[in-house]
Amino acid sequence: MTGLEAIAAHNGWSIAIVGVTIVFTGLAMLSIILSQLYKVLDFWENRDDFFKRLKRGDAAEDLPDITVSPDMQETVRQYQMLADRLGEPFSLPKLLDFAQKCGLVNPHATINRLLKQNVIVPDGEGYYRWHQAISG
């Protein structure tokens, strides 16, 4: 038996469709979970700060929560990781230099956006701090 008849006789269409669907579902699920994983890890790593702020309830007065536009979230993450490596407070030119060396796109303009959105804030001594209360 050959041709479409053979495919139908061996349940080929169903196997192919279900197979493709499962592969897609598996990788799509993994993709979704992985895209959120780092956020969960970030939260876990900063849980103490989060609970402190929750308890005190005064953090908002010192440093209001800021909302970062969705298109900036990934960028914020990248730069936060770089800033974390530099420690707090960090040098802005060093962050810029670091971002350039890592090949990040438009580091100057990006840092400017982060400054304007108060994601990066000056400490008054010529150095900078990462805003501790950023939400998406």
């Binding site: 960090f90 040098s91 802005l92 030119p93 100057h108 840092i111 400017n112 010529g126 150095y127």
Partner: protein, 152 residues
Amino acid sequence: MPTDIQTLKSLDLFEELTSEELTQIAPMIHPMKISEGELLTQRGEPATVFYVALKGNFIISFKDGQAFTLHNRGDIIGWSTIVTPFLYTGTAVALTDGEVLALNGDDFLQVIQGESSIGDKIMSKINPIIAERVPYFSRDKARRDLPPAETE
């Protein structure tokens, strides 16, 4: 192309100058387009150009990684062109595309020293800015003079 008087008048640095005084200095001030990442001044190099920001954002960095940023129209860069030893104290880089007014350092110094009225008015605007920025480069100097262990 010299800058028009209205533009100069709208800037804090020149707002106290009369129309005649503005007309006098306008030919030596030239608008310049600046690209993101462009270097305007280099710390330690002879200060040859004075800039006034029209558009854009800038970072000025010092030794030991200190820095501040400028985001407003009228912010100035390169005051070392009119203060001895005429060497830039910081490195200025454009964070975004922008536009500045550029003044040749020698011309600017000549006007300030030669025209007392213009000099006084401009220096009265620049002095507070210098005072604000002094901690960056004076600390820079102080740190430079300290033994290495204490600078860490």
